[in-house]
């Protein structure tokens, strides 16, 4: 029997899913990702955990096409569409969303203008202005965000919590097929984290959002108490070394990464 690898069904190609296969990538000529295989199915939440420096953010940036990150080999497909040849905007229009750990401040560009432009880019035949405005206000409410946000400049003078809420607002409004959340919980206080979790779960409960696949990149398991993971992967030194269920996240919390490092040190390629 021929083994096709983890991402295909025998007898046919399963096209749905965010499929990362054999991905190797480097930044500043230093190899960080040493062959990543991971598939996020529609509607499922995958958590990617790992110690600092394991390459988690590199994976996020390589998937979205950041110019500083060079892919050496491998593939990333989104519901069958190969992403790596596409420019970052085309990847977004194919249905990928990346929530940044450190979102850029764009002075002089209002949140309202930015969100409207982004929405029109990914969903061109869209809601009439009144409906769009109503949707924005609704999502602002779920995130406990003041409508005054809309006239502020993107991330300009925002606190950490405000920046992450704006990322979540974009997630809710752009309604992507697959969302990669890069350390969304870092730097958040209890209330902000609760808002973020509430917003993601609210989105997953909508028609637009119920099939969105999530790759939640996190160092700590905190966010997974708000958005429960279906699958947990542990990444170390540029490789996924262990995959399991939600109990794996709990184990990390109890025992830390060192115990996992020892377990896999026995030698897995």
């Amino acid at each position: 029997m021929t083994f096709f690898g983890p991402n295909r069904t025998i007898g046919g190609v399963s096209k749905r899913g965010l499929v990362i296969s054999g991905l190797r990538a480097s930044v500043d000529s230093k190899e960080i990702l040493k062959g990543i295989d991971l598939t996020v199915e529609p509607g499922k939440v995958h958590a990617l955990m790992g110690p600092n420096g394991s390459g988690k953010s590199t994976l996020a940036f390589a998937m979205s096409g950041h110019p500083n990150y060079e892919v050496q080999s491998g593939s990333v497909t989104l519901d069958g569409t190969s992403l790596l040849e596409l420019s970052p905007d085309k990847r977004a229009r194919a249905g990928l969303f990346l929530s940044f750990q450190y979102p850029a401040a764009i002075p002089g560009v209002s949140v309202a203008n930015f969100i409207r432009t982004a929405r029109m880019a990914v969903k061109p035949d869209d809601l009439p202005p009144a409906k769009f405005r109503a949707m924005i206000y609704e999502k602002l409410g779920v995130l406990d965000m003041d409508p005054a946000f809309l006239s502020r400049y993107v991330n300009d003078g925002f606190s950490g919590g405000e920046k992450k809420r704006l990322e979540m607002l974009q997630l809710a409004i752009l309604a992507p097929k697959y969302a990669v959340l890069d350390e969304t919980d870092s730097g958040l206080d209890v209330d902000a984290l609760q808002s973020v979790g509430k917003s993601i779960e609210a989105m997953r409960a909508t028609d637009d959002g119920k099939d969105t696949g999530f790759l939640i990149i996190t160092h700590y398991p905190r966010i997974l108490r708000h958005v429960p993971a279906d699958v947990v992967h542990i990444m170390m030194d540029g490789r996924i070394v262990k995959t399991g269920g939600p109990d794996l996240a709990e184990r990390v919390e109890r025992e830390g990464y060192d115990s996992i490092r020892e377990e896999v040190a026995g030698g897995v390629a």
Partner: protein, 297 residues
Amino acid sequence: MASLSAIAPAISVTRDARGTHVEIPAGVNTDDPIVIDYDAADAALIAHTFVSAGEGTRATIVERLTGNAEREIAASTTVTAAANADLTYTVLQNVGSGVRVEAKRVSHVGPGARVGWNVALLGGSSVTDSVISDHSGAGANTEIAALFFPVAREVVQLTTEVQHNVPHTNSQTVVRSIAAGRGRGRYFGNIRIAAHAHGSEASLRDDTLLIGKDAKIDAVPALEIAANDVKAFHGATVGAIDEEHIFYLMSRGIERDAAEKLIALGFFEPAVARFPGETLRAELRTLLEEKLAGARR
């Protein structure tokens, strides 16, 4: 031929051989802008404007300068603000790419008076503009907000100067410029604080964005401070669009060209925000957007 609309009945706007005269008698306040249109339609245009703002007055003047083909425009404005007057003078210059413009804007600011200049320079093959303000009494205040935007092969030179000649006066100068394509610009920003002008406060902020490798803007700030007990601030930046900002916008599905346009418009915003009136600001943003759309590479 200039077309004039004077809103407040007490304000007089007249034309004679020397130019257009706006007289705002003492005590008159108006929120409605006085609009002066100069259009170099059929011939070279010489546009001189004289504004006399009496004591305790408040008014806003908007000068629109347009022209096409290869016209030449020579423009000047002289504003005299008497004690405690508050005069805002806005120049919206939007001329065709073959037009040559030389303009000189001067204000004399009396004690406790404020003159606010808002100058937007768009278009023109060669534009030379200067805004020079002097203070003749304590409490005088000059605010200058300017933006210029040479694209294609346009060349723009802007000079601003505030002369703090007497004690206890303030000024604030904010200039934003973008050069794109082969657009070239020069900005001379001058603050002069005389030896006896103690207690003055002056700030000069000059920021430039360059789009494309052939775009060029030289900025020469000069702060001459001869007095003690003054506050003078200067800040300047020159740079290209930050690629991290481009990536952030593109990762939301926005194409590179559109992302550059958003960022460039955002860059002008601190200067645009100082122009008086939301209608005027909206008009200016539209003009800037149109220019950006036509200006790629």
